[in-house]
Structure formats: structure tokens, C-alpha cells
């Protein structure tokens, strides 16, 4: 835990404040609680937005929304990509070939474009964005896990386990998975950062469904238009997003180091 230090603590704090956002937030993020475009003050720490909603409360709730969408996306990426990647790397053969060519084709498409294809099919909304973000992160995650599994497969202890008669699935579960886990973990943190970034980008582009719901990317899109008169709206959302990505990237780097 000491290895991931400050960034890990920040991510933990973020998660905690997301979980208790309704308790901590001083105001209702959807309600008009003051005059429009008030500058930051003791009453409204980060000011108010175009229709007088409290920006601090919106950043708290928005961060929670970005994080939860990213976590939903991450769960499916890790479960599907992890399982497929482990099998592809461990068993090899036709399955490996098929999965590698498929992920190659997906990697040839920019992840934002994959996400936009999903939204073309499924319409806009938070769940759709989660699916889109998960699918666009899938090929890269699969490739990393596959490479780790291949590396483990070549180790001597795998041969030994086989020699004493362990079944393939047993070896996969008892030996390959635990040894590939550190790689899976750090790739997972990278995938989390990617999913959060993609989710915020899609919200920024206006595919978030409900426009009043607070989300960091959507707040940036809103705040951008009033940046001249009220820079605090975009500034709060943008800084929060950057801090989150900075911490996640740092944790991922430290986990691999």
C-alpha cells in the first residue's frame, strides 16, 4: 500500500466522497440554490452555475457519476477481457489466433469511434456510455492479459504442475491466474482511467442522455460556453477530471514498477 502512496490515497478519498456524496454535498446538485453565476465564496465554495446550482455539490455528484460509469465499464472489461485473454494466452492455437485477429481489428479503430458506433446502435444515456467505454477498452486489456498469460505459461513450474498431472483448468486457475494477477491489476487501473476519460468525453460531446444530471465532462461542456464570465464552473470540473486521471495513471505506473 505504501508503494502507491499519495495517488492511491487520493483515489480512495475520491471513491469515499463519491459513495457519501449525498451526505457531504452542501446542496442538492439539481436544485437552484442561489443566484446565477456567483463567484466562489464561503457559502458556495466553487460558486454557482448558469441557473444557480451549487458547483461544489455538482462536482461531488459528477465525480461519483463519472466514477460509477467507469467502474461498470471496468468490471465488464476485466471480466470479459481477462477471461478471454487468459484463455487465449494459455491455450494458444485457433482460439488465440481468432481473439488476436479480432482485437487487432478493434485496435485498428480509434476507441472513441468504437464508442460512437455503440451509441449509434444503442442511443445515448449513462448505461450506453458504460457499454461503449467498456467495449472500447476491451481489445487493449485483452492483449495485455494475453501477453502475461503467455509469459507465465513458459515458466518451469507450469511444466512441473502439468508433469504431476494437474488438469489444464486447474493449472490456469491455481498457477497462471495468480501469477498474471499483478499485470491484470495494473492494466485494470489503466483501463479505469481510460473508461473514465471516454465516459467524460462522450458526455462532453452530448451523448449523456439527461442533460441536467451532473457529470464532469458534461459540466465542462456547459462551463466552456460561460468561461469568460464564470470560469469556475469549467475550472472545477476540468481540474477534478485531471486530478483523477493523474492519480489513476500514477497508481498504474507504480503498480508495474
Amino acid at each position: 500500500m505504501r508503494r502507491i502512496g499519495l495517488s492511491g490515497a487520493f483515489l480512495a478519498l475520491w471513491t469515499l466522497s463519491s459513495l457519501c456524496a449525498p451526505l457531504i454535498a452542501p446542496y442538492d446538485p439539481l436544485a437552484t440554490v442561489g443566484e446565477a453565476l456567483m463567484a466562489p465564496s464561503a457559502q458556495h465554495w466553487l460558486g454557482t452555475d448558469l441557473i444557480g446550482r451549487d458547483v461544489f455539490s455538482r462536482v461531488l455528484h459528477g465525480g461519483a457519476r463519472t466514477l460509477s460509469i467507469a467502474l461498470i465499464a471496468l468490471t465488464s472489461t476485466v471480466l470479459i477481457g481477462g477471461a478471454l485473454g487468459l484463455c487465449a494466452g494459455f491455450f494458444g492455437g485457433a482460439l488465440d489466433w481468432l481473439l488476436v485477429s479480432l482485437s487487432d481489428a478493434l485496435l485498428a479503430l480509434p476507441s472513441l469511434l468504437i464508442a460512437l458506433c455503440v451509441l449509434t446502435l444503442a442511443g445515448s444515456g449513462a448505461l450506453q456510455i458504460a457499454i461503449a467505454a467498456s467495449l472500447s477498452g476491451l481489445p487493449a486489456y485483452l492483449r495485455v492479459v494475453r501477453a502475461a498469460a503467455r509469459q507465465v505459461r513458459a515458466q518451469l513450474y507450469i511444466e512441473a504442475a502439468r508433469a504431476v498431472g494437474a488438469s489444464s483448468l486447474g493449472v490456469l486457475w491455481r498457477h497462471v491466474l495468480p501469477n498474471a494477477l499483478p499485470t491484470c491489476l495494473s492494466a485494470g487501473v489503466v483501463a479505469l482511467a481510460w473508461a473514465a476519460l471516454n465516459a467524460a468525453t462522450l458526455h462532453f460531446l452530448g451523448f449523456g442522455g439527461d442533460p441536467s444530471a451532473p457529470e464532469l465532462g458534461a459540466m465542462l461542456a456547459e462551463g466552456r460556453l460561460i468561461f469568460r464570465t464564470a470560469p469556475w464552473v469549467a475550472f472545477s470540473a476540468g481540474t477534478a477530471l485531471t486530478l483523477f486521471l493523474l492519480a489513476a495513471n500514477d497508481v498504474a505506473r507504480r503498480l508495474t514498477a
Binding site: S101, L102, D104, A105, L106, L107, A108, L109, P110, S111, L112, L113, L116, C117, L119, T120, L121, L197, A200, T201, F204, L205, F207, G217, L220, A221, G223, R224, F227, R228, P231, A234, G238, L241, T242, L243, L245, L246, N249, D250
Partner: protein, 307 residues
């Protein structure tokens, strides 16, 4: 060399074919498409909708549609837009110049800034190293639209130097969008450049150059960058995908005309042929750029041809 080029071109073609197939399969799984959506909204009867779909070839069996698409692709025909009935290739052609100049400018900015930052982070004095590393981390964590919002504020609103809305391809209109997209791109280039240069720092040929008494500047430019150039070129070639995704966001940010705007409108209108056309175009750009970069790297360094 010829064999290497052929092999690389073939693998680019296979990737392209797979991407086309994937895009086809995905977009045909659609629950409702633009025609049904449009006509239902305007109150057309079911027969009218069916007639319109048949006229556009959407009622044929899937295998026939697939073959149609592939043969069309070979002829450069990407189908027609479901919304306004114009050829997708013409729609894309109109917007291509704007996006290409944006992407090219960004690639140059990104490569220069990335390699510069990489040199700083790997070879600078202690302070410069720290600074460059912090900058790289910050660049990697800043979404394009946030960087762009700040840049617009500083250069267009505060200093009043450049236009905040970018029209056309004049130098003045291109500086901000290219700069923003290029800087967003430079983070990952800088990361790899740092790693490559750190590795080269302790290599015997660098020690020999030091021992000969060459100045640091010459060692970096004449020796290290040349030796690590192949990896850098291949990496920059791999950024094609990121460039296109980034161009979509950058164009939305600067309300610039281009492929990005075309794509976003098509996604909103569920205009599948247009979305598919843009997806194929970006797969093509990715494969072409990747293949070109690999071939360039192999031309510089014959060892790469046999890996």
C-alpha cells in the same frame, strides 16, 4: 525490402478487411435505423417505410448486403447517406481536407513536442528531468477538450491573438486546434521517447562518444536519436487512431468543419452508412500510417526487415 513491404501491406489489408467486416456486423445489428426513425416521426405508413428500405437495398439478405458492401468498397463506393441520400464518399471527400490539415499539423506538433519532452525527461539536468516528467504526466491526464478550453481562453479571449472559432485552413485558424491536438498527442510519444533514450543512455556507443569528448548535443542528435529512431517512427505511426478520435473532439471544440462533425451528426441521426464510412476511413488511415511508419523504419534500419 520489397518482401518486407509486401508482407506489411498484406497485413494492413487483412486488418482493414476485418475492421470492415466488424463495422458491417455491428451496424446491421441495429434495432432501428435512420429511415424507420425518420419516417416514423413524419408519420409514414409501414408500406412506405418498407418501400424506401427496399430501394436502398436494406431488405436484401445479409450475405448479399455484405458482398455489396465489399465490392463497393473496392470501387471506393461507400453507399449513400440515409438522411440526405448523397454518396458517403462525396460527403467524406468534402470534409477530408479540413481534417487532414488538422491531423497533419497535430502530428508534427506532437512529434516535436513529444521528442523534445522525452529528451528533457531522459537526459536533462535533475531539475529539467523532474519538470519534463511532471509535464508529461500532466499532458497524459488532461483531456483534449479541457486543454483546448484553457488554450482558447488564454490565446483567444485573454491575449486576443488567435480566433477561438476555427474556419478554413489558414495558418491562423490552424495554430490553436493543431497545437491542442498535438500537445494531447505528445504525452504518449514523450513517454516512449523517454524510455528509449534512457535505455540508450548507458549503451556502449554512447559511452564511446562521451569518451571521444563529443558535446552532448551531438551525441543526442547524431547518435542516440538515430539509433532509437526506428522505435520512435513506428510509435508515431501508431498514433493515427488517436489522431482521428482526437480530431473528432477537437473539431467539436473549435466548431470546425470536418470528418468529426460529419461523424457526430451521423451518430445523432443514426445514419449508419455515414458512420460506417468514417469508421472504415479511420481504419484505413490507421493501417496506412502504421504500414508507412514501419516501412520507413525498416528502410532506415535493415535489421528491422527480418524481425
Amino acid at each position: 525490402m520489397l518482401r518486407f513491404i509486401l508482407r506489411r501491406a498484406l497485413s494492413a489489408l487483412v486488418t482493414l478487411w476485418l475492421a470492415a467486416t466488424l463495422a458491417f456486423v455491428a451496424l446491421r445489428l441495429a434495432p432501428s435505423d435512420a429511415i424507420t426513425l425518420q419516417l416514423t416521426l413524419s408519420g409514414a405508413t409501414e408500406q412506405q417505410i418498407a418501400a424506401r428500405r427496399a430501394a436502398l437495398g436494406l431488405e436484401l439478405p445479409l450475405s448479399a448486403q455484405y458482398l455489396n458492401m465489399l465490392s463497393g468498397l473496392l470501387r471506393g463506393d461507400l453507399g449513400v447517406s440515409l438522411v440526405n441520400g448523397r454518396a458517403v464518399s462525396a460527403l467524406i471527400g468534402e470534409q477530408l481536407a479540413a481534417t487532414l490539415s488538422l491531423a497533419l499539423g497535430a502530428l508534427i506538433v506532437g512529434a516535436l513536442a513529444g521528442i523534445g519532452l522525452g529528451i528533457g525527461a531522459a537526459l536533462g539536468s535533475r531539475f529539467v528531468q523532474r519538470l519534463a516528467q511532471a509535464l508529461i504526466a500532466l499532458l497524459l491526464a488532461t483531456p483534449i477538450y479541457w486543454l483546448g478550453t484553457l488554450a482558447i481562453y488564454v490565446f483567444a479571449v485573454w491575449l486576443g491573438l488567435l480566433p477561438s472559432v476555427s474556419r478554413g485552413n489558414s495558418l491562423q485558424a490552424l495554430i490553436l486546434p493543431c497545437g491542442v491536438l498535438g500537445l494531447a498527442l505528445s504525452g504518449s510519444i514523450a513517454q516512449v521517447a523517454t524510455a528509449a533514450l534512457r535505455e540508450a543512455k548507458n549503451a556502449p556507443y554512447v559511452q564511446v562518444a562521451h569518451a571521444k569528448g563529443l558535446p552532448m548535443r551531438l551525441i543526442v542528435w547524431r547518435h542516440m536519436l538515430r539509433a532509437q529512431g526506428g522505435a520512435l517512427i513506428s510509435l508515431i505511426g501508431l498514433q493515427g487512431g488517436f489522431l482521428i478520435g482526437g480530431a473528432v473532439v477537437t473539431e467539436a471544440l473549435f466548431t470546425r468543419r470536418g470528418i468529426g462533425q460529419l461523424l457526430l451528426n451521423a451518430v445523432n441521426g443514426r445514419d449508419y452508412p455515414v458512420v460506417q464510412g468514417v469508421v472504415l476511413l479511420s481504419a484505413l488511415a490507421y493501417s496506412l500510417l502504421g504500414a508507412a511508419a514501419d516501412i520507413l523504419a525498416a528502410w532506415r534500419d535493415p535489421r528491422l526487415r527480418f524481425q
